[in-house]
Symmetry: C2
């Protein structure tokens, strides 16, 4: 290991309490990469990710500031780590980097039950936080599939969405206050406020920054009373377009069911085989709120039912919905799939209603044409008045790691190209990381990338924060 | 006029079509300041605002880019102008600046009726846009009091809110795409998307930037079907706290009435004298949506009614509400008020529910203690699960311009100090401009101001854009 790195580590050890700087082989190995599917492929071949130089586990904002000051002085790359559930390769520190592991800053600091605001540390696990809130009769309303394996800081860093976003909004709609340690160790504190017009909203710089602009050390989040009333159903629909039309009609009509998930025939059959021995389109509808709003929720579900029947739908009752609710947080194991000779990934993009029908056609057609791809499919999961996301899934077959890599890269490239070709957006809520990096300039334009670089240079002049990610 | 300015003007005249560069006395005089109350006071004394050096009226993004390139080369200050309705002194160009008047970029470019997205130019007048949308059966849902005298670009630049924001959100929730010309003439284009996670949302840098970071040249906005069903009532309440409690209960219960306005006794009596011969607290409630949602709106209004009655309210029916609806876009004339010896202004701040009760007490008490102040009062107009804004109003009496200035400055200082002292936010939706500038560092902290300055230096290295505003 280079002397400069050893000097930096010595400075960190001197500045921080005992136990914060960790260098044992097992810890270093466990902090090599996140949950990026391609890295799981590469780890099976000669391109396995190296261990980082050192892992630091701060316990306070002051300790994070010390790390950032020392690392900046020594020009050592710093890569923040939450719980490692990212799927785009944003966390891939390399052998010369310091991993800033926020796992010991995992406390729920305060709940203001009058204002419905929680203050949390970034390393807090989503499911732990939600369980704590539930015990107080509250919820955040943010339910990513990864809730059991992802951290609150990670949710902000990637601009995450939850499965119930159509009712509760995405993570950027929930953040009221933010504390961020900048490169060099200065601490930015944006106090919790319902809404302000005090210049540009600085919090938004860090939401989606993927660890490249600062390290989030405290978050103030808007909460809701925990819902105690749920209503919903599943519906077989004659076409993908019929499901899109129902979704659009409900959103534009002012309804906000927590869940509106439209599956194409392939995915309905794969995930709901009991009700779909043959492929057909499936829409899941779920409304939720407090018991005091039961009547309003009934009206919402009734409107959804009416819209579905008008499109020629067949009512399937609650069972498929409950089936999904019971399995929705299952995270598949890349290693198991790859060992079985399957290359699988999901790619979420978003489009306005005008663009969404051609987008689905072009992406699934382009993916299906790739040699080795068995299935190319999609579902929607986050709806807006202006459009919707599509979650594409590809399943490829290959046992050789090089062949697995080829399929993986080709499926992503086909999806990104077709998405850009439709004027749609290349990422709905997983972020850029490394997997989408080469297409970002076409989404943002040259000036967009220059703007991002200029902001990066302004906030992190020595470029120590998560180099190689995003831009 | 200095030679450097004349050289710049010559370069602009050469680069732009005839008629774009305007220097007649009347035009220059009309572009001296915005609708800042203090400037109206100062204009009556020796500190009247000077005319700018030149006004440029571009007709396209390319022309804006030419202006920005030339001005940057010549280091000439550029101050964008929409319709001049700002009330915080953000527009006060001074004698050496170029005013970039966007009044000729005022077209509605496109309406995507399937995705409910409108693309507009920044100089479009709010009321003209809304009337165009209404004719198509649509609405933006953004109704600032200034709608007849403010532009869409100005709404973004100041981070505006409309009177119906509790249902439709604030301006940052409506913007799906944005085109901005940066200093030097590069054009940033963020395409319209329902939602993305492609790094930090660059659009948010410019929303609230008050002309200091770029010039907005095109906006994509999310629309709604025009509501054809309204329900509501007015209620006399026994206390300010009762009205806050009703508002909090409704928002946290998941209701989103378009209007929830709580007036204190002074304002109820001043604005609703027919129903309030004596001071008492007044809550206006209005729900709106499409006829298909009538039943849901009825439930919402019923919930509001029940909450009010539980707090000891007295139902006043629709009339006070209709009275407000009919007068809500009236913009008072500073000159008339000042000529009558009255110094009047409103100051909007925001607070979480935990902070809002002490905030009201401290601000009104502090303002009322200022010699010359006749009345200090407040109302709320934008509600959230986490808190609410308060619109404070002061009425002072003085005929001498110096005395008017003293009262104006003292009322603002008292409000800003008391707001910061309560941990509340100094601006809800009018922005910083010049009137709040000295208090911004205490809201954002030193690192917040440094961050804003660093972003400014990165995007506008020569500092030509609206110098003296915001930071």
């Amino acid at each position: 290991m280079a002397n400069t790195i050893l000097n930096t580590i010595a400075a960190l050890e001197e500045a921080l309490p005992a136990g914060r700087v960790v260098r044992d082989e097992e810890t270093l190995r466990s902090r090599r990469h996140d949950y990026w599917g391609l890295q799981a492929v590469l780890d099976r071949g000669p391109s396995a990710a190296p261990s980082p130089a050192v892992v630091v586990r701060p316990q306070s904002t002051d300790e994070v500031a010390s790390v950032m000051r020392i690392a900046d002085q020594h020009r050592m790359p710093v890569v923040p780590f939450g719980l490692g559930s990212g799927v785009c390769g944003a966390f891939l520190p390399g052998s010369e980097a310091l991993v800033l592991d926020l796992g010991q800053m995992d406390r729920l600091l305060d709940v203001d039950e009058k204002s419905l605001i929680a203050s949390v540390q970034p390393g807090l696990r989503g499911s732990t936080f939600e369980a704590d809130l539930n015990a107080r009769g509250l919820t955040l309303g943010h339910f990513p599939q990864s809730i059991g394996v992802s951290s609150l800081g990670g949710w902000l860093a990637t601009r995450a969405s939850g499965q119930f976003s159509t009712r509760y909004g995405n993570i950027e709609n929930m953040v009221l206050g933010l504390e961020v340690v900048l490169a060099g160790g200065r601490v930015l504190r944006c106090g919790a406020t319902p809404r302000s017009s005090t210049g540009p909203d600085l919090k938004q710089l860090f939401i989606g920054s993927e660890g490249t602009l600062g390290v989030i050390t405290k978050i103030d989040l808007a909460l809701w009373p925990r819902p105690d009333c749920q209503q919903g159903f599943a519906m077989r629909l004659p076409s993908w377009e019929a499901g899109l039309e129902v979704t659009r009609e409900l959103l534009q009509g002012g309804y906000r069911p927590a869940v509106l998930r439209l599956y194409d025939g392939i995915e309905a059959q794969r995930n709901f085989a009991e009700w779909f021995p043959e492929p057909a389109h499936l829409l899941l509808v779920l409304s939720e709120g407090q018991e005091s709003m039961r009547h309003g929720l009934e009206l919402e579900v009734e409107a959804a039912l009416t819209a579905c029947l008008a499109q020629g739908g067949t009512q399937l009752g609650r069972e498929p919905l409950d089936h999904w609710l019971g399995r929705r947080n299952h995270v598949p194991s890349w290693d198991d799939l790859l060992a079985a000779g399957l290359v699988v990934d999901t790619i979420e993009v978003s489009a306005t209603w005008r663009n969404v029908a051609p987008l689905y056609e072009r992406v699934t057609t382009a993916m299906a044409a790739i040699p080795g791809i068995l299935q190319a499919s999609g579902h929607t999961s986050h709806a807006y008045t202006s459009g919707v996301n599509i979650y594409f899934t590809f399943v490829g077959q290959a046992t050789d790691p090089l062949e697995q890599e080829r399929i993986y890269r080709a499926a992503w490239a086909a999806t990104m190209e077709a998405t850009l070709g439709c004027g749609a957006s290349i990422a709905h809520h997983h972020g850029i990381g490394r997997v989408r990096r080469e297409w970002l300039p076409r989404e943002l334009g040259d000036t967009g990338i220059e703007t991002l670089r200029a902001v990066k240079a302004a906030l992190d002049p020595n470029g120590i924060l998560n180099p190689g990610c995003l831009i």
